[in-house]
Point group: C2
Chain length 203, copies 2
């Protein structure tokens, strides 16, 4: 697909309210924290804890979750490479909209392909995208197996399962590497929050 929109006769609508104005009014800066890692690595759990902690600080935050979004926006997509690519493309666009709205949006998707994550990154202004590699090892993820998916994948009952029968391309220069092994959920969540704080998103 080319980068140009397929539809003609459209113009970028000049918003009378800018992102900067929205941010000033709600007292924070829009950002995308893009968690990536294997199934069972702890992406959703960390996101939900960050969400909880930021809401307690009155921040406007929202989690886009792989499992949730596939019930709605991306319910027409499966797990083939093409569908995974389109899945991540759409999520990147939605995350961009939330960040434009001034929200801190956390995304919790395996997002195994480096190129797809780079596509999501490219939608944001420099500095607004935090690739957060949840680096839990395959062994630890498989030992946790919270949804029983690894057992099924090893039995050949799930095709194209990341880490088993489909590739995972680990980030090479993530803004953040989130450790979960030997750490509490709070500690992992605090790593993310510290990054946001250090980088000035709680204006």
């Amino acid at each position: 697909m080319s980068d140009a929109p397929k539809s003609q006769n459209i113009v970028w609508h000049g918003a009378e309210v800018t992102q900067a104005q929205r941010e000033a009014l709600i007292g924070q800066k829009g950002a995308v924290v893009w968690l990536t890692g294997l199934s069972g690595s702890g992406k959703s759990t960390v996101c939900r804890r960050v969400e909880q902690k930021l809401l307690e600080r009155k921040k406007f935050v929202y989690v886009l979750d792989g499992d949730n979004i596939r019930m709605g926006l991306n319910k027409d997509l499966g797990f083939s490479p093409d569908d995974r690519k389109e899945n991540i493309r759409r999520i990147g666009c939605v995350a961009q909209l939330f960040a434009d709205a001034g929200a801190i949006v956390l995304t919790a998707f395996i997002s195994p392909y480096r190129a797809d994550r780079d596509t999501a990154r490219a939608l944001l202004a420099p500095g607004r995208f935090c690739e957060a590699f949840v680096s839990t090892s395959l062994e630890a993820c498989e030992a946790r197996d919270p949804k029983g998916l690894y057992v099924k994948a090893r039995a050949g009952k799930i095709p194209e399962f990341t880490g088993i029968s489909a590739p995972y391309e680990a980030p090479e220069s993530a803004e953040l590497v989130v450790q979960t092994e030997g750490k509490t959920v709070d500690e992992s969540a605090d790593q993310v929050i510290a990054w946001l704080e250090t980088n000035g998103f709680f204006a």
Copy 2:
């Protein structure tokens, strides 16, 4: 497409933070105000004014705009009936996510098909969706023609142009009918804000 998601092995992820908690923390209720009407009817203009006024009241509000969203999320879609349907389906899903986040989201799309608008409505809990018919007449829209599209459509240069060569199904029971003819933008915007206020969205 069936209502069931194509992908298997997914579960609705139990959010540790509920919509009600998010709303309590930010002091408002999530809602979708779905503006529908002909090209040039004033949907985007009214939305932007509502956005400006609500932000001044420190409300978390965001506009999803037909022209804007086609640059990103829906840039793979054209204007055939199938593409229009998918366009609205995706936008409905994104609007639902914003409302779930606690935001007041305004959408400004022609959305000519009744069935598609009903699909967007069905994604929201009862009472959270406001269909707002921007009822500007074809004659007035064509006289305004802010983007010069009616001239092109009449000359046969734009196929499937709503109101000229493609149908517009007016709402039969919209929550709100927004008048723009003989009114100021402020007056039209205030109609929308009054609906939100009356229906308890500024908790």
